[in-house]
């Protein structure tokens, strides 16, 4: 499973391995300290090149969310999406996976999950990042 997940990541540039787990890879400007996701080669604020990689923490805060009732390229409705905020103000857009009846709220804690996201037309599966509410009783950083 882990091996298949790793092999089917839709853009390997967006991920980084930390202690055998897959994390989101951002970049940080050594000059002005700004952090970005997706990672950038050059800082759009101070133009410094060759930004270094940084692993985003797995837990973030839900900045905004919506449930979508029309199909998008890779997802069938209904599905939930949102912006998740990480350290230094980095906001990442992605799918939010909730359980039946589970509600979301601005400012609630969410965690990053690496899992399969959609199927390709040739039947292959594509994996990447999504977010889930950080539910009580769960050990942080699991999975």
């Amino acid at each position: 499973m882990e091996k298949e997940l790793r092999e089917s990541l839709f853009d390997k540039n967006l991920f980084i391995e930390v202690d055998d787990t897959i994390r989101l890879r951002g970049s940080e400007c050594p000059n002005c300290g700004r952090r970005f996701f997706p990672p950038k080669v050059r800082c759009p604020e101070c133009f410094r090149a060759s930004l270094g990689s940084v692993a985003l923490e797995t837990k973030g805060i839900l900045y905004s969310y919506t449930t979508v009732y029309i199909p998008s390229r890779n997802f069938r409705p209904p599905y939930r999406v949102g912006y998740v905020e990480f350290d230094k103000g980095v906001r990442v857009f992605g799918q939010i996976r909730t359980r039946e009846g589970e509600t979301l709220s601005i400012g609630s804690a969410v965690k990053t999950v690496i899992d399969f996201l959609w199927n390709k037309s040739d039947g292959g599966r594509v994996s990447g990042y999504l977010f889930e509410p950080a539910r009580e009783g769960q050990i942080s950083g699991e999975k």
Partner: protein, 380 residues
């Protein structure tokens, strides 16, 4: 830089034109604008065509049907702001003295794309993750309602107002009244955005003829002057800031007000980018028509309705008139010209002397938006 005048405008009726080609839609708008201007076909020195989904050299393809060939032609793509960007290019060419007479037009067939196909390009990260335009604006809207206590009824009021205005515009796609409860009970698209808070898929074309202001009286009796034409692009850091305020619209508008030596209070009529109802409330604030957070109360007060302090989207806006992407910006400018010439019929804003047009367009991961344009036109 020379002063530049708009001397002719034209538009097709906006709607579903499955049986008409892009070339035919474009030809109809261009010929209407040329006829309106009084300029003979051999005087056109530059033609700038805006289009997003039509393919290679569409401008030349339209212009050969009009009968104008060999002159300088450009094709412009800047998402929803394509049309107003094309206008800006022709404006600059004339202002700088490179040419005297030019044509800017936009044409689009959204029905050719099928339902809900308007999305950022396949290579875009967020697009792959499911970021459709309604979802993007739903995320912004949730924060905006949360932060300022704006109500769903106030958001719906924008759609009700613009649909009412659309009833007065023969070129609008929708010409029927709707109620606040119609808006709120329509099908959910991306919570809290319902169907009637979204602009429709539309086909159409619009065109403008520009010329050096000192030559304008030779062709037409009611030239309208371009007081400011500004194009700007989005900021990569916007998403890390407060997304309930379009910094891009604010910056672009400030520059336009400076160039025109005007203030928001000087604007008599405004066409702005109401792709979704909530956008209009936020743009009131960014364009300086009301204080930040006051957009909901501002629409409720009637200030932006016909007869109000600053009537907004009297054409019906994107919500009623429809949104053929690249034609939209040009159609807004055509509406402002009709208003300033006192030719807008039932939807005429009495005594309008200055008008502003605003477009925001394009999704790129990390950017607020691709392009923003603000134009200020005034009576000659």
């Amino acid at each position: 830089m020379r002063e530049v005048a708009v001397i002719g405008v034209g538009s097709t009726v906006f709607g579903k034109w499955k049986e008409l080609s892009l070339e035919e839609l474009g030809r109809r708008a261009v010929e209407a604008a040329l006829e309106d201007s009084g300029v003979s076909y051999d005087k056109v020195q530059l033609a700038c065509c805006a289009n997003v989904y039509g393919g290679m050299c569409l401008g030349q393809s339209v212009m050969k049907e009009v009968g104008i060939t060999r002159v300088e032609m450009m094709n412009v793509e800047n998402a929803c702001a394509s049309g107003s960007s094309a206008f800006n290019i022709v404006y600059r060419a004339i202002a700088s003295g490179e040419c005297d007479v030019g044509l800017a037009f936009g044409v689009e067939k959204m029905t050719a794309l099928g339902p809900a196909q308007l999305a950022p390009p396949e290579t875009d990260l967020d697009a792959n993750m499911g970021l459709l335009f309604p979802a993007f604006f739903a995320l912004i809207m949730r924060r905006y309602l949360d932060r300022y206590g704006v109500t769903m009824e106030q958001v719906a009021q924008v759609a009700v107002k613009n649909r009412h205005h659309g009833c007065l515009n023969p070129n609008a796609q929708y010409k029927n009244e709707i109620s606040i409860s119609d808006v709120l009970s329509s099908r959910m698209i991306a919570d809290p955005i319902t169907m009637l808070q979204c602009c429709p898929n539309t086909d159409g074309a619009a065109a403008t003829v520009l010329c050096a202001a000192d030559l304008a009286n030779k062709y037409c009796s009611k030239p309208v002057l371009v007081a400011a034409s500004v194009v700007a692009s989005g900021d990569y850091q916007w998403r890390q800031r407060d997304i309930t305020f379009s910094d891009m619209t604010y910056r672009t508008a400030q520059k336009a007000y400076d160039l025109a030596e005007m203030k928001p209070e000087d604007i008599d009529v405004c066409e702005l980018h109401d792709a979704f109802a909530v956008n209009e409330l936020m743009h009131y604030e960014e364009l300086g028509f009301c204080d930040v957070g006051e957009g909901g109360r501002f629409v409720e007060s009637g200030a932006t309705s016909m007869g109000g302090k600053i009537p907004v989207n009297v054409s019906g806006g994107l919500l009623s008139k429809g949104h053929p992407l690249a034609a939209t910006g040009v159609a807004q400018l055509a509406e402002i010209v009709w208003q300033l010439r006192d030719e807008a019929g039932q939807r005429q804003v009495k005594g309008a002397k200055v008008g502003l047009a605003h477009v925001l367009g394009g999704a790129v991961t990390g950017l607020e938006s691709g392009a923003c344009t603000v134009h200020i036109l005034k009576r000659g």
